[in-house]
């Protein structure tokens, strides 16, 4: 699959990914090992567990100019810290509401659950997010 290149004049959304250092980070590695392509504007910040996800980080990413944010953790039930991913999920849900309230749009934030072998699933997730953000357009915070 070829990614849309930047020469088409289209808007290439900037995505910040927060991933745990277990399944999610391994899935991103696996996408690499299997040479699965995904948009190059996807950049990753490591967290020890998605249970460490903090609303401040998510908001900081938007403030610094991300058009979208993804949080990626282990599959539900397989968290390496028992239920950290569920904690993270709750915070993502709450932050989505907040994004809706302030008019940025909760759909700019999404959480995904992948196991270490699921490189393709990760790539699909960020491809899907890119599509969604292309439709939404640049983050209003970007040049604000």
């Amino acid at each position: 699959m070829t990614e849309q290149d930047e020469t088409n004049g289209g808007f290439e959304p900037e995505i910040t990914v927060f991933s745990c250092i277990y399944c999610a980070y391994m899935a991103v590695d696996t996408a690499g090992v299997l040479r699965i392509r995904y948009p190059a504007n996807t950049k990753l910040v490591k967290l020890p567990c998605t249970g460490k996800t903090d609303m401040r980080y998510l908001m900081e990413a938007f403030e610094q100019g991300a058009d979208g944010v993804c949080v990626v953790g282990c599959p539900i039930g397989n968290c390496h810290h028992v239920h950290g991913n569920e904690r993270g999920q709750a915070r993502v849900k709450y932050t989505k509401q907040l994004l809706d309230e302030i008019g940025l749009g909760g759909e700019r934030l999404e959480m995904y659950f992948v196991s270490g072998g699921m490189g393709e699933t990760f790539a699909n997730a960020v491809r899907g997010m890119t599509e969604r953000l292309r439709a939404l357009g640049p983050s209003p915070l970007k040049d604000g």
Binding site: D29, R37, A40, K52, E60, Q64, G117, M118
Partner: protein, 1518 residues
């Protein structure tokens, strides 16, 4: 249990054989508790079957996610030495001191140099089926076993020398260039040919290609058309403008003269020039090339090809002197040459001394052909030409004559048509061109005509001819057969010899009787020192390829001579020649790897177009034809040594000369964990595996499900890649059948798991599982099975499938089976898209061989024989067995055994703990807290893996501009050993206090780099990585600019974090050596004795007033010994006395000086952490406080006593334990043997809670008691009413024995439970048999109920006091069901025995040993390091709200009253660093933001986010 320390000074090292999960776990436990470990694995990487799995049941964890950290730990552990590609071949010595012989096969890639970049695999042209993917896809001969493989290095699979190469005198790697042609890599193919032969274009045309005669493909259809492919590739490359080779570097002063510029002389000249000598070639003729240029006709070998290939050699720097005849050898030496090679060929044609040879018109072959090639053709137009001779040269002469316009051309020779020495295809071509052949003629004279010219040839018919062993000819002719064949020209072509006039006897060069130069055939040395001779001049005429081989050999000898070495080379070990048996080729055809296709014919000029000119007859392959022909190659040698990998590897890691290595290793004990082999499904031919593409094995299906498998986790059917909507699983394929008297234990569960995963992938998939019993006997398994039915709608059908047929059109499968019904059995056939065979467990031939070599007793299936009361001990002391090698078992049990073996080893080796281990000594740590940040950035090219897809130097350049960065550089491979050293040096010399590496993934490489900065005295916390390979170059390979920019972003982010890094603080805590064991049953006692025997003090606490626990209720245990073992064909039951065993245990515990036993005592509470607990115990005498480093919970279980089925209402209704006691009583002589035992018994299995969870032991216990009853009262009638019979593993044999003894088994469903009534006439049990729909009624003397094992009373309270969790059924919950089966999630607390789950005596013993081993990983140390990435509370912000206390998954935070929080409120949270797991959940939840996680502090993460998105945001903090 092993408790005899046999030697006082054993060797503190252990060999673990097998690198699957069992071997890995045993190695880690052993290494962590003080032993040096050699882990021997016969593949190129560890990981075993578990690495192949997609998910694991019952948690559906990704197998790779959970095993990968263990792989990495094992690979990096300083006291574990991995010996991959290795086999144990012998052992000497005794327990405590063994010497083990280990043989290591070459992997052809240097493990120390390989960086795992994969460039070799990218260029490797050889395709083989992927074993890791179970043959579903192909891989390259250079490969890594799987992406996460440890060691992270590639290996080259090489089987031997391909027969084509072996048959070639010059050793041409034909298989290699054929593979490259298939890939369309023609330049590379030519490079391969030139490795061995400087004349590819020439040999492609005129070689006699013995390679094709040897080709294994000839056994199947036709040999590969190797010479045509060779010619194709030269034509292809030579069509391009010639690029002259780089001149060779002159290394040596010495000069070599080569006399003769034929193929032999030029080959030697080339080799010597490349070696760095000065080389001059003397050639008498005006052209170079020798016979190639002047002996082979143009139509076979165009001059421009010869000229081109000669020029390639000249361009290397060889001096070529044409028209320079050497008349005197001594002249050459006088000119200052240090060595001379005589390679003058055989250019003098021979004649026969017969009448008429002086006539005009009589010629010899060599001068005839030479004159034609040099443009001075004799005029033979329209003449009748007779060629004398039957060899290939004679054919050349005759066909040349045709082309010169001769009127008619004939050949006459001594040999018969069949025995003519010329190749058949040459003779056929000659005949096609109209040449008349007169075979079996001897030549009497050449008849003179009236014009003094030739009139004809007088011949006699040959009646017999033979060359004797000495080369002399015996010839008989018919004296009356004189006849004359008319002709005008006679050309002799009966042989050639060398012209040796320039070496008269005085030169000291010996000559043979055949007029060849005498040489030592091994060295090519002539009789005068410094003079060598090779090629036709030494052998008489031979083929070009022999001249080339001879030239190489001479060059090597001359080199050795000039270097002053022995001329004779020492013999080199060689790989075997691969002889593919027809059967093996057949198997490959069956697997679809090979198709029967005849060779692709070489297009030729039609005869009418070729006789009139010298145009080439064979026109050559097109690309398509060549690639099609190349694709037929069977790749016999696997690796062809094409050297593509060697040319491409920038780490210089490839070494095709590696040899097998043998070493003897001294160890004190051996743990055998060789694992299992899946049953070979093709043996069950009724299921069509191998013939029907859509029948796959469960392991293949596992790979199809795997996201990193061949289909990326899309379940595609092999025949057409379509999704499978209807899938059938066939259970017990290779288990529970005529040849396997055992159950493979885990197939029921993996089939269920695979079915669930298939439905998870495609929700509308319908799955049917055909099975006999559902053996869901493990913890959480039954619930999983219920979920499979209820939530996923998986259909389970109880039957054994008799046959599968394939619909030839759709490749769908028709599964046939017998279904019992009320109307009797009927045959059903159902259609499926895909069938999965749940293949069972077998032992490989290799494992049997291992057992034989180690003199370890195996059973007839190859499983290791062990005793139920000493489960891990093999028949040879000091050698232990774990995992499926002891009998089929799943992962958790295997892991338990692996840990248990570590404890068993300790029984032999404990005195030698820490004697063979090594500690890494780091320089003292530099305090950099007050320094300004000085960041060094190292950006990796990873060969071409990163550097080929983005601008690495510009990333380093960008890093240099970032604040705080004082140094940035790019490296070819940052992880290579010299680069690691370089980082250490740069850190020290430049005074770096933070290091950033931008390369690959921290999951595998971070510890390596952290180590390098520790070597420079920097804290490992001062390191940060940017993963620009997995996240940039590999995923954006066609976006150079975007990948480069993203890499800069990631590096900037890493630097931003690096600026804010802090040292990771670790503190050392002294370890309390004692262990607290709670529970005095068999598990507790075993754990206590295991520890105490190895010198650790144990506090054993038992609530009751005596030891023994549940074992007091087990009177006997039984085993089955097969008939084969006894040699009588009949098996037998072997009974063991469990009470005697218990007695021994109790006595040893009572008397052990290291065990403090507290009966009637209870555990109250515990504080502290792993290594330093303080616990309070309530004893008969009050409360004791003890200090200990670890805790083992072994509180056991009890038999359930409910009121189901009238239990308690009638003395004839008893539990299994009660029945067992009664059987034992009957043995008591005082009660009269056999007295009081019932004559008829009904048993009901799965009573009460057993419907919810399987109590694992009840089926076997019931059968054991049945067998015990039948032994005492053979007439007893027994009916067992069951739901599933779960006699897993070898216990299946007991089930079979019970059936043999006539015990009736009746199935029931939980919704139609048996009805039990106590009537006046006795017991009445009615049950509905669900398949037949019939009600069965029994009136037994006794009803025995299989009551499950349940947790003891008050277990909830104990769990609370221990601060460890329980599962829903009240059993203790381990940290991870699969890989941490004896650990609790709280460090330092372990569990064993029935407190964990119902289990057999032998399983409890092993688990107790495992728990002891795990505890020993803590208490065997003097100090523990704690801290690192942990959460820290800022008490001044803490409001003691308890959020962290509630939220922590490990229950670590506590409110400490002595701390003061916000506003001096009393109490604040405290997080013990020794216990914190560093997840950071509490940090994010803390409402007061009073907690920070080291290395993930808020400002660190926010700085990363800012730097990533806003380049200008990077600034030095403070």
């Amino acid at each position: 249990m092993e408790h005899n320390v046999e030697r006082n000074d054993p060797v503190g090292a252990v060999m673990v054989v097998g690198g699957g999960i069992a071997g890995i776990q045993a190695s880690l436990d052993l290494a962590e508790s003080g032993y040096k470990v050699y882990l021997v694995e016969n593949k190129s990487a560890i990981g075993g079957h578990m690495a192949q799995l997609d998910k694991t049941f019952p948690t559906n964890d990704c197998a790779m996610c959970i095993v990968s950290p263990k792989l990495v730990d094992c690979g990096r552990h300083r006291n574990i030495e991995l010996l991959t590609d290795s086999d144990v071949v012998g052992i000497q010595g005794d327990a405590g001191d063994f010497t083990v012989q280990v043989q290591t096969r070459p992997r052809y890639i240097d493990l120390d140099r390989c960086t795992g970049c994969g460039d070799c695999a990218d260029v490797c042209p050889v395709i083989i089926p992927s074993h890791f993917d179970e043959g579903l896809v192909v891989q390259r001969a250079a490969h890594k076993l799987y992406p996460q493989a440890v060691p992270n290095a590639y290996a080259i699979e090489k089987r031997g020398i391909a027969p084509c190469r072996d048959a070639c005198p010059a050793g041409q790697r034909a298989q290699g260039y054929i593979a490259l042609i298939r890939e369309g890599r023609y330049e590379d193919a030519l490079r391969v040919i030139k490795e061995d032969n400087p004349f590819p274009g020439i040999c492609g045309r005129i070689c006699n290609h013995r390679c094709e005669d040897a080709c294994n493909r000839g056994k199947l259809d036709d040999p590969i058309n190797i010479h045509a492919l060779k010619r194709f590739v030269t034509d292809k490359v030579y069509a391009q403008p010639r690029v002259p080779p780089e001149p060779a570097e002159r290394v040596h002063d010495q000069r070599v003269a080569v006399i003769g510029s034929g193929p032999c002389g030029l080959t030697a000249a080339q080799d010597l020039c490349r070696m760095g000598y000065g080389v001059t070639v003397f050639e008498a003729l005006p052209v170079a090339g020798g016979m190639l240029r002047v002996g082979v006709p143009e139509y076979r070998l165009p001059s421009e090809i010869v000229d081109r290939e000669v020029q390639d050699i000249v361009d290397l720097g060889v001096e070529l002197r044409l028209n320079t005849r050497v008349d005197d050898l001594d002249d050459v030496f006088r000119e200052g040459f240090d060595a001379v090679l005589i390679a003058v060929g055989a250019h003098e044609g021979r004649m026969l001394p017969i009448e008429g040879i002086d006539l005009p018109g009589v010629m010899v072959n060599t001068s005839f052909l030479r004159d034609v090639r040099l443009g001075a053709s004799p005029d033979i137009a329209d003449k009748r030409v007779m060629v004398l001779g039957g060899g290939n040269v004679a054919v050349d002469v005759a066909r040349t004559a045709v082309r010169l316009g001769a009127g008619e051309v004939s050949m006459a020779c001594l040999e018969s048509r069949e025995t003519m020495p010329a190749h058949d295809w040459e003779i056929e071509a000659a005949e096609a061109e109209g040449i008349q052949i007169y075979p079996s003629r001897s030549f009497k004279r050449i008849v003179e005509n009236e014009e003094n010219g030739i009139g004809g040839l007088e011949c006699l018919n040959v009646t017999f001819m033979e060359f004797g062993a000495d080369g002399r000819l015996t010839l008989e002719t018919d004296p009356h057969s004189e006849h004359i064949i008319m002709c005008d020209v006679v050309i002799f072509s009966i042989g050639q010899r060398a012209g040796l006039g320039f070496i008269p006897e005085s030169t000291g060069i010996g000559v043979t009787r055949q007029a060849t130069i005498a040489v030592n055939p091994n060295t090519m040395a002539a009789t005068r020192p410094g003079v060598f001779a090779a090629g036709d001049a030494t052998t008489g005429t031979a083929f070009v390829i022999e001249a080339v081989a001879s030239g190489h050999q001479a060059a090597e000898s001359i080199h050795r001579y000039l270097r002053g070495e022995e001329l004779e080379q020492p013999p080199k070990p060689e790989l075997p020649v691969v002889d593919l048996a027809r059967a093996e080729i057949g198997e490959r055809i069956q697997r679809g790897e090979v198709e029967v296709t005849p060779r692709v014919a070489m297009p030729e000029l039609p005869v009418e177009d070729r006789v009139a000119n010298f145009a080439e007859v064979e026109t050559g392959y097109t690309d398509e034809l060549a690639q099609a022909e190349a694709a037929r190659c069977l790749a016999c040698g696997i690796c062809s040594e094409c050297l593509s990998c060697w040319y491409t590897c920038q780490a210089d890691a490839i070494n095709h000369d590696m040899l097998e290595r043998a070493q003897a290793i001294q160890v004190g004990a051996v743990v055998l964990a060789p694992g299992y082999e899946a049953y070979h499904a093709e043996q069950s031919s009724e299921y069509g595996w191998g013939r029907y593409p859509n029948v796959v094995t469960a392991l293949q299906f596992e790979r199809l499900l795997s996201a990193s498998g061949p289909t990326h986790g899309h379940v595609q059917r092999p025949s057409d890649g379509e999704t499978s909507k209807r899938i059938a699983f066939l259970q017990c394929v290779g288990s529970r059948d005529q040849t396997h008297d055992y159950c493979s234990s885990f197939c029921c569960m993996y089939a269920t798991k695979e079915a669930i995963m298939a439905i998870e992938h495609e929700s509308d998939t319908q799955v049917t599982i055909f099975m006999m019993d559902m053996r869901a006997f493990g913890k959480g398994y039954l619930e999983y099975y219920h979920r499979a039915q209820e939530r996923y709608g998986i259909r389970y059908v109880r039957c054994r499938v008799s046959k599968i047929r394939q619909d030839p059109q759709t490749h769908n499968l028709l599964v046939r089976y017998v279904q019992d019904g009320a109307e009797g059995p009927s045959i059903v056939e159902e259609e499926f898209d895909l069938v999965v065979l749940s293949v069972g467990v077998e032992m490989s031939d290799g494992v049997r061989e291992l057992g034989r070599r180690l003199s370890v007793d195996l059973d007839e299936h190859g499983f290791c024989r062990t005793h139920p009361l000493r489960p891990l001990q093999t028949s040879r002391p000091g050698i232990f067995a774990v995992g499926p090698f002891r009998g089929p078992k799943d992962i958790p049990e295997t892991v338990v055994e692996a840990s248990g073996a570590a404890a068993a080893v300790g029984a032999v080796l404990a005195p030698a703990r820490w004697t063979r281990t090594e500690d890494v000594v780091y320089p003292p740590e530099r305090d950099v807290s007050e320094e300004e940040p000085r960041v060094g950035v190292f950006v990796c090219h990873c060969g071409s893996n990163i550097g080929g897809y983005l601008d690495v130097p510009s990333v380093a350049e960008h890093a240099r501009t970032l604040p705080g960065v004082v140094h940035a550089e790019d490296n070819l491979y940052t992880c290579s050993q010299d680069a690691i050293q370089h980082i250490t040096e740069q850190t020290r010399e430049l005074g770096l206090n933070r290091v950033v590496v931008a390369s690959c993934t921290p999951l595998t490489h971070e510890p390596l780099f952290q180590d390098s900065i520790r070597q420079a005295g920097l804290n490992p916390g001062m390191f940060q990585m940017a993963n620009i390979r997995n996240q940039c170059s590999w995923v954006h390979p066609d976006q150079w600019d975007a990948a480069t920019e993203k890499s800069k972003d990631l590096v900037r982010m890493a630097v931003a974090k690096a600026l804010r890094l802090e040292s990771l603080r670790k503190t050392e805590v002294p370890v309390e050596k004692a262990v607290l064991v709670v529970g005095g049953g068999v598990a507790g006692m075993t754990a206590a004795l295991t520890l105490a025997d190895q010198g650790f003090p144990v506090h054993l606490v038992e609530r009751k007033d005596r030891l023994g626990g549940n074992l007091r209720n087990i009177m006997h245990i039984v085993d089955w010994e097969s008939g084969k073992a006894q040699g009588n064909g009949k098996g037998k039951l072997v009974w063991h006395d469990s009470q005697a065993f218990l007695q021994q245990l109790v006595e040893r515990v009572d008397s052990h000086s290291h065990i403090t036993l507290r009966l009637q005592s209870e555990f109250l509470e515990s504080t502290g952490f792993a290594g330093a607990f303080t616990s309070r115990l309530r004893t008969a005498n009050g409360v004791d406080e003890i200090r200990h480093g670890a805790t083992i919970v072994a509180t056991g279980g009890v038999e359930y006593r409910g009121q189901e089925y009238g239990y308690g209402s009638d003395p004839r209704i008893v539990t299994q334990q009660e029945f067992e006691a009664r059987l034992a009583q009957a043995d008591d002589p005082s009660s009269g043997s056999g007295q009081g035992l019932p004559d008829s018994v009904v048993m009901i299995l799965c009573v009460g809670p057993a419907e919810r969870y399987c109590s694992r032991i009840c089926c076997t216990t019931a059968i054991k008691n049945v067998l015990a009853l039948k032994q005492r009262n053979p007439q007893a009638q027994v009916t067992v009413i069951y739901h599933d019979i779960r006699t897993y593993g070898f216990m299946e044999r007991l089930y079979q024995e019970a059936r043999r003894q006539g015990v009736m088994f009746v199935h029931y469903e939980f919704d139609q439970k048996p009805d039990v009534r106590v009537t006046d006439s006795g017991l009445q049990i009615a049950v509905r048999e669900p398949v037949l729909g019939k009600d069965m009624v029994y009136h037994p003397d006794m009803l025995v109920l299989s009551m499950p094992v349940v947790p003891p009373e008050e277990v909830d309270e104990l769990a609370t006091r221990l601060k460890v969790p329980l599962d829903l059924d009240g059993f203790f919950l381990e940290a991870h069901v699969k890989l941490r089966p004896v650990d609790f999630s709280s460090d330092g607390v372990f569990l064993a025995g029935m407190a964990h789950y119902p289990k057999f005596l032998h399983e409890a013993i092993v688990q107790a040993q495992a728990a002891a081993a795990r505890a020993m990983t803590i208490v065997s140390r003097d100090v523990l390091e704690v801290g690192g990435v942990v959460a820290e509370v800022d008490v001044e912000k803490c409001v003691a709200c308890l959020t962290c206390v509630r939220i922590c998954p490990y229950r670590v935070p506590q409110i400490q009253a002595e701390f003061s929080g916000v506003g001096d409120i009393v109490g604040a949270a405290y997080i013990e660093p020794a216990q914190c797991h560093g997840c950071g959940i509490c940090v994010s939840e803390c409402p007061a933001k009073a907690i920070q996680l080291v290395r993930y502090r808020g400002e660190q993460i926010e700085a990363q986010i800012a730097a990533l998105l806003e380049p200008e945001m990077v600034e030095v903090c403070e």
